[in-house]
């Protein structure tokens, strides 16, 4: 399978601070990729680098085998839904569709029309007066109806109410099923992504902490609980992600490729949310070298 996004040592610096550093990823095609991390971790920076909004300070990035926004053909293959679904407030829904039709050779007018009808959007209503969920849906329509190979969504449901959030994800999954498009979507909440994503990238403090298919991650991470033990005395091959101790008990979240055979441990599975949280905690533990009082990265 070819990679939809391939980065090598990718980094982006704003004056003294690296918003993203040492990012090496190879995101395979055909997946719905969840980009998770706390606010300010670098998710939007990575997305901006992938959509050509920013140029890298270090390393390289390739999208669908070419440089981002290398030309009209490259632009046509990538659909982008930016944070807060930017639309022209004064332009009605119908004119947004016309915009898509005029500016995209691969525009599927039927699909766009069907989606808008199903969403019960009034064609003459100006985009500025739509609700948050409707705006997100219209923006998704614009991104999807140009039939891209890769869809990049920056925190698409962050500001939506639960019903709008569910409807948006439903629509997105339907588009994925219909069109065979790879999706990268970012969120600071893993719960948004759990059902939809089959590939996860955890980004904390400007660095990628873990990345891989969800099935693999769940199969190789285990929660071990047993009598109080010093983690240093564990057998090799076990990478401890997080550990907590009481006076009698030790609980470890470990990453390993083989089975854990030591009978002293009770092995149980880890949910995706706990896995992500463990990596976030792991990243937070060492005293950060960069000044955490920074303002949010320029967007």
């Amino acid at each position: 399978m070819t990679a939809v996004i391939e980065t090598e040592g990718l980094g982006k610096r704003y004056r003294a601070r690296w918003a993203l550093a040492g990012c090496t990823l190879s995101i395979p095609a055909g997946h719905v990729v969840g980009l998770v991390g706390p606010n300010g971790a670098g998710k939007t920076t990575l997305i901006n680098l992938a959509t050509g909004m920013l140029a890298p300070s270090a390393g390289t990035i390739e999208v669908l085998g070419g440089r981002p926004i290398a030309g009209p053909a490259q632009l046509a293959r990538v659909g982008y839904l930016a944070q807060d679904a930017p639309l022209y407030a004064g332009l009605p829904v119908a004119d947004h569709l016309r915009l898509g039709a005029h500016l995209n050779p691969g525009w599927d007018a039927d699909m766009a029309r069907r989606r808008v009808e199903r969403l019960c959007l009034d064609h003459r209503q100006k985009a500025g007066t739509l609700s948050g969920g409707q705006r997100a849906q219209l923006a998704l329509t614009l991104a999807v109806a140009k039939r891209p190979e890769l869809l990049i969504l920056d925190e698409p449901v962050a500001s939506l109410d639960p019903l709008a959030r569910r409807e948006f994800l439903q629509d997105l999954m339907e588009a994925v099923a219909e069109q065979e498009v790879s999706v990268v979507l970012s969120s600071h909440l893993i719960s948004d992504l759990e059902r939809a994503c089959d590939y996860v990238i955890v980004l904390v403090d400007s660095r990628v902490r873990v990345a891989g298919p969800v099935d693999d991650l769940l199969a190789t991470h285990h929660l071990l609980s047993g009598p109080r033990r010093d983690p240093a005395s564990l057998p090799g091959g076990l990478e401890v992600i997080s550990a907590s101790h009481t006076d009698v008990q030790t609980t470890l979240l470990v990453r390993t490729s083989g089975p854990v055979l030591d009978p002293v441990w009770t092995v149980s599975e880890v949910g995706l949310e706990d896995l992500v949280l463990a990596y976030m905690k792991q990243a937070a533990r060492p005293a950060p070298r960069n000044n955490r009082r920074h303002l949010e990265v320029q967007k």
Partner: protein
Amino acid sequence: MIEFHLDGRSGVAPYLQLIHQVRQALRLGLLHKGDQLPKVKDVAAGLAINPNTVLKAYRELEYEGLAAARPGVGTFVTGTLDGGSLAAHGPLRRELQRWLTRARRAGLDDESIEALFASTFRSAREEDIA
């Protein structure tokens, strides 16, 4: 056509839940041989889950011989959960009822019975895997 639902908090992987619901439907007679399973697109859209998850469930059912995919048309039920297992239900049910009576006489309340059952069930499954 059956309709799927997901329990987000059960801790069971979504694709396993889908498989389970198909098998349940077969057992209860909601699905018969030749019936079409819901389209991948519709399941993904209805539950807001990744289509690959649905595909994985359907592939597993195919592997178990319960369903078969017809390209361009859909996935159809090809097997049944044979009556043999239904026949075994009777004696198993009676054994279970006897065990429950003994558990109650030993002083276990409902929750203790469920906890005992669940932990035994889980460790038995893990022994199967390991």
